[in-house]
Each structure stands twice: as structure tokens, then as C-alpha cells.
């Protein structure tokens, strides 16, 4: 049998020196204790961000006109949630990749009717409100076209919406019960009752915050706060945390694509970035099979720098 040729890049020479015992349990324990102490030390030295949760109560008290305008957008169907498509409704095709309508394939899994869920249902939960009850009955008995007409008339006048003495004021005519809806919903929100009403629609005990989060995201208040904290997607948001806490720097490649056309302006940016990252990840998996790319480690010879002692010994012998 022919003796196999020794290849210094792949083969290791037989070790002819001494041997010493290696205790992996000891090394693991030392590593665990060292990392624990380091964690404790860093926790003592550095604080962590402590941002208070933004609620609908916070929002409607800080920016009542923004809240009332958003409530109106839920009622007239112009909000982001109302027009989102799957998984919330059938209003649009939703995110798609070329001819593949990915969101539609998933379907409406979390049905959200913004008129019912954000306006009518919370108002119905209010006890002892005779005027509101009458207006809700008027709404439920009206035809679709009448409701649309009321909402359209209110929307026309809402451009000059003001907020004074704790009340929303819109000089609207032929708006039916809509002014009462917007005013009462704003009062509900300012008292904190709307937060509770939106959460408890799914039951008494719930951790489902879908509705309040969608409602908050439809307004501009939350977006403005995010902008101030440099947390918007157009500012490498995924890498940022609140305060001056470092973010997830290893996600830079995901955030990078959002800064490059067409992802900067595309409504399908999430899907495009996901697809791009899947292609790149597949490329990473297949590195050993891609000619040229697979030769980079051999040509850059970084491994010889890491294992320089081995190669020095090899060259001497």
C-alpha cells in the first residue's frame, strides 16, 4: 500500500512530546464562575433602560387630537390597521413577494374589524350612558350608506378638530351619532377605560394586547416617540434600544437592507429583506460547495496565523 502524502494544511503530525491531564469540569466551572462574576459586576456598573409602558390613556392625555383623529380613522376605515389585509382583514393583498401573495396564503388569522373592535364594542361596554346608548341604537339601526354618510360628513369637518376644556370639538353637520362616539371614546381613553375594554374583549384574564397595540400604532404619538429614541426602521431601528443601551449589533445585516432601495420605500420591505436573508443564509450553508468562495480560507491563510505554532513546528521538521 502506498504511504499517504503528508498535507500540512490538513494533517497533523504525530505528537511525540509529553502529555498532561485536562479537566473539562474544572475548566467549565472556572468559566461559569468568571462569567457570573463579570455579569454581576457589569450589572452593578451599568444600569438598564426603564421606560414606562405607553398606554392608550397616556397617549390620549398627551395628544388628545391625535387620539381622536386616529379613532376617526378606525371608524372611516383609513387607518393602517383597517387597510392592512391579512392576518387582520381582507382590505388589501398584504405583503407579497412578486406573484406570491404570502399574507393572503396565511389568511385572516386574527380578525380585526376596526369599526367594531376599536369603536363600537368599547363604547357598548360603558354602563349607565343613556345618550350613548341611544346613539349606539341609532348606529346599529342605520343602513350602511347612512353610516357612511355620517362618517364622511364628520371626516370633512375633522380637519379643524380642536380640543379645549377636556372635550373634542368638531363643527360637523349631519354626522349622526359620530361626534358622540368620538367624544365618548376620547373620554374613555383618557380615563384608562379604553385600555381595559380593548384588552378584556378576549376574556377576563388575558395577555393578548393585539388591539391596544394596533390602535396605538395607527396614531402618530407612538411613532413620534420612537423617532425621538432613534427606534424607527429608517435609523437602523433593530440595532437600537431605548436610552443609551447597546442593541443587537449582530443583526446589522438584517437592518442594512432596509436602508437600500427598493426596500427603503417598498411596502413589502419585510418580505423582500426576509427573502434576501434566506438566499444569503442558503449561500452561507452551501459555502463548502461554491467554487471560489470555498477557497477563501485557503487563500487568505488566516488559519495559518491561528495555528502558527503547528506550522512553525512543521517547517522545522
Amino acid at each position: 500500500m502506498r504511504k499517504k502524502t503528508f498535507r500540512p494544511d490538513v494533517d497533523a503530525p504525530e505528537w511525540k512530546g509529553g502529555h498532561s491531564p485536562y479537566d473539562i469540569i474544572k475548566e467549565g466551572t472556572i468559566a461559569l464562575v468568571a462569567v457570573s462574576l463579570l455579569t454581576l459586576l457589569l450589572a452593578i456598573v451599568f444600569g438598564s433602560p426603564d421606560e414606562h409602558a405607553i398606554t392608550i390613556k397616556t397617549w390620549s392625555n398627551a395628544a388628545p387630537i391625535d387620539f381622536a383623529s386616529t379613532a376617526l380613522s378606525e371608524l372611516n376605515g383609513t387607518s393602517t390597521s383597517a387597510q392592512y389585509g391579512a392576518p387582520y382583514n381582507h382590505a388589501s393583498t398584504g405583503p407579497q413577494l412578486g406573484p406570491f401573495t404570502l399574507a393572503k396564503w396565511v389568511g385572516v388569522r386574527i380578525a380585526v374589524n376596526t369599526v367594531r373592535d376599536f369603536v363600537i364594542a368599547p363604547l357598548k361596554s360603558q354602563p349607565n350612558q343613556p345618550v350613548l346608548s341611544t346613539d349606539l341604537s341609532q348606529w346599529s339601526q342605520a343602513s350602511s350608506s347612512t353610516r357612511a354618510s355620517w362618517v364622511a360628513n364628520y371626516t370633512k369637518a375633522a380637519g379643524k378638530m380642536t380640543f379645549a376644556n377636556g372635550q373634542v370639538a368638531v363643527n360637523a353637520t349631519n354626522a349622526g351619532p359620530v361626534p358622540v362616539f368620538i367624544e365618548d371614546l376620547t373620554q374613555m381613553a383618557r380615563s384608562g377605560a379604553l385600555d381595559q375594554a380593548l384588552i378584556t374583549q378576549a376574556g377576563f384574564y388575558t395577555t393578548n394586547y393585539t388591539l391596544p397595540l394596533l390602535f396605538l400604532a395607527d396614531g402618530t404619538y407612538l411613532a413620534n416617540l420612537a423617532q425621538k429614541q432613534h427606534l424607527s426602521g429608517d435609523q437602523w431601528g433593530m440595532m437600537n434600544e431605548t436610552g443609551s443601551y447597546p442593541g443587537q449589533a449582530w443583526l446589522w445585516l438584517y437592518t442594512l437592507w432596509y436602508q437600500i432601495p427598493p426596500m427603503t420605500t417598498s411596502g413589502n420591505a419585510d418580505v423582500l429583506v426576509m427573502a434576501l436573508m434566506m438566499v444569503l443564509s442558503l449561500g452561507l450553508l452551501l459555502v463548502p460547495f461554491i467554487p471560489g468562495i470555498r477557497s477563501i480560507p485557503r487563500k487568505t491563510r488566516v488559519y495559518r496565523l491561528i495555528w502558527r505554532e503547528h506550522y512553525q513546528t512543521q517547517e522545522k521538521t
Binding site: 433602560p49 437600537n240 436610552g243 436602508q259
Partner: protein, 60 residues
Amino acid sequence: MSWYGSLAALVPLDNLGHYLHWHFIEISIANVLVIVLMAVTFVAAILLPFPGRRRRKENP
């Protein structure tokens, strides 16, 4: 201030940080520091000798 308030972090990170802005890149100083530390650790891992190398040389 409560007793545990006196144990609050020496370096609070609640305040809005400083940011570097260059073309479309806007990145916080904290993130830059983490990235630099990662790069330094990578270079150190390559260049620093393995622990125990000296001992092995002394006692072959």
C-alpha cells in the same frame, strides 16, 4: 432615596445616547463600542498565544 436606590448603577443608561450620522447610517455610540469590542476580541483571539504554550515549551 430608598436604600436600594443608593445601589443604583454607577453608569445609568436611561438617558438618550449619542449618535453618529453618516449618509444613511445612523448608529449609537453604544453600538459602535460593542462592534469595536467584538472586533478587538476577534483579533485578540487570533493573535494572542494559547494559554499554557509557554509551559509546554518549558516542559516538552
